[in-house]
Amino acid sequence: MLTFVAASLLVGYVVGGCGGGSGTSNLNSDNLDDFVAEIRRGADVDYTPIKDAADAVERADVIVVGTLTNVRDGIAIHGEDGLWNEMLTLEVSVEDVVIGRALAPTDPIVVQVFSSAVVDVEALRASLPKERVILLLDEITDWSPFAGARFTYPDGIDGETRLFTPFSDGVVFDGTEGPVNMLVDPADLADGWAGDSTFEVLIDRLVAATHPN
């Protein structure tokens, strides 16, 4: 099927609090590698890279830390010229909210991510990683890519659902050997962002950036 990967963070909200480590062990990286390889297939973007944590906080509407709990079909968008993109839905249990607390804990967070006809949703589901993940999100509730775009929603999502999409270099897993970006290679990350730190340090930097001196 076509996928214009969407991540739907149907929030199983746990706790507020910023930046604390959970003690989660860094296992299951085989799953993480498989998941990352599959979810990238067929969608390539050129994006304005995040420079550093301060830039991330400046640009993102919401930054959360959590874990993926499910992946399924998402939103499809058509125009006059046919299918433009489809999405996947990722369900995420949110552990911390770094910014964006205006989102009530019970609010579902639905995130759209680009993907393609090549992605196998069943393969993604089979390799759903258990590692914690940081997501930098842009709210797209009222977004439309072009005039006349028509949205088709999957079960559990409708026109009233609050929608988000991650920044291309803003989905970072707590990998065994360091942070793993879901959508882009390490070589494509800006020097000041996500490439030279541990997962916990990255969270700390984001938290610190929300309280600049």
């Binding site: 076509l2 214009f4 990238r40 297939r41 067929g42 969608a43 390539d44 973007v45 050129d46 994006y47 304005t48 890279p49 995040i50 640009r59 125009g79 006059e80 010229d81 046919g82 299918l83 433009w84 993109n85 759209q112 680009f114 993907s115 393609s116 006809a117 090549v118 999100l137 842009d138 797209i140 977004w143 439309s144 890519p145 072009f146 005039a147 999409t165 991650p166 920044f167 291309s168 803003g170 882009v184 290679d185 070589a187 494509d188």
Partner: protein, 199 residues
């Protein structure tokens, strides 16, 4: 203006679909082309376009003339600097290889290429949707160059290129162009070698 890459007039045109299948089969066996110090196709779906002739159209999302010329620029220079050919179809049809969109992309995305149709051949993407976000591209300076760099970039993905596939300069760089130099709006010689070996 000097184009990067091989002289398109000095080499024969593409192999056609059968040729692609042979090349793809060779690559699948790990017998890389001489140009292949890295993986090709290196885009995330690891798929080539269906043949050396890239048919394309501009969808009804394009209204402004100054936007319409940008995909045309990328298609022209793909044709001029590689063994691939561009062929405008005017109106988009189901068989169009590259459908260009002018759209508002979220979260700092400047351009996007999605493999939207796959056929029976596992190593081939039959059709790509290529989207440009001009508002995002026009942030900062060098807008004219940025627009054309990203058009070149996304078209490059549709024919198999990855980011930084050569480790050198060229339009497969992510983000804004570092300068107005033409190299940022062209494929590197290395990338052209990959394309010409495959098509």
């Amino acid at each position: 203006m000097k184009a990067t890459g091989n002289d398109p007039r000095a080499v024969s045109r593409g192999l056609g679909r059968g040729g692609i299948l042979v090349v793809t089969a060779i690559m699948a066996l790990g017998l890389a082309s001489p140009a292949a110090a890295d993986t090709f196709p290196g885009n995330y779906d690891l798929r080539l376009a269906d043949d050396a002739i890239q048919t394309y159209c501009l969808t009804s999302t394009f209204f402004l003339e100054e936007h319409k010329v940008v995909p045309e620029y990328a298609m022209y220079w793909l044709d001029q600097t590689t063994q691939m050919s561009d062929m405008s179809q005017g109106t988009c049809v189901n068989s169009t290889d590259a459908k260009w969109y002018d759209a508002n992309l979220p979260a700092g995305i400047r351009g996007e290429r999605v493999c939207i149709v796959v056929g029976d051949i596992p190593s081939v993407c039959d059709r790509s949707n290529i989207t440009l976000d001009f508002a995002e591209l026009d942030i900062g300076s060098l807008d004219w160059e940025d627009r054309r760099k990203t058009a070149c970039h996304e078209l490059g993905h549709s024919v198999g290129l990855n980011h930084h596939s050569s480790g050198a300069e060229g339009c497969m760089l992510s983000g804004e162009v570092p300068s107005a130099d033409v190299q940022w709006r062209r494929y590197t010689t290395h990338d052209v070698g990959h394309i010409n070996a495959a098509y």
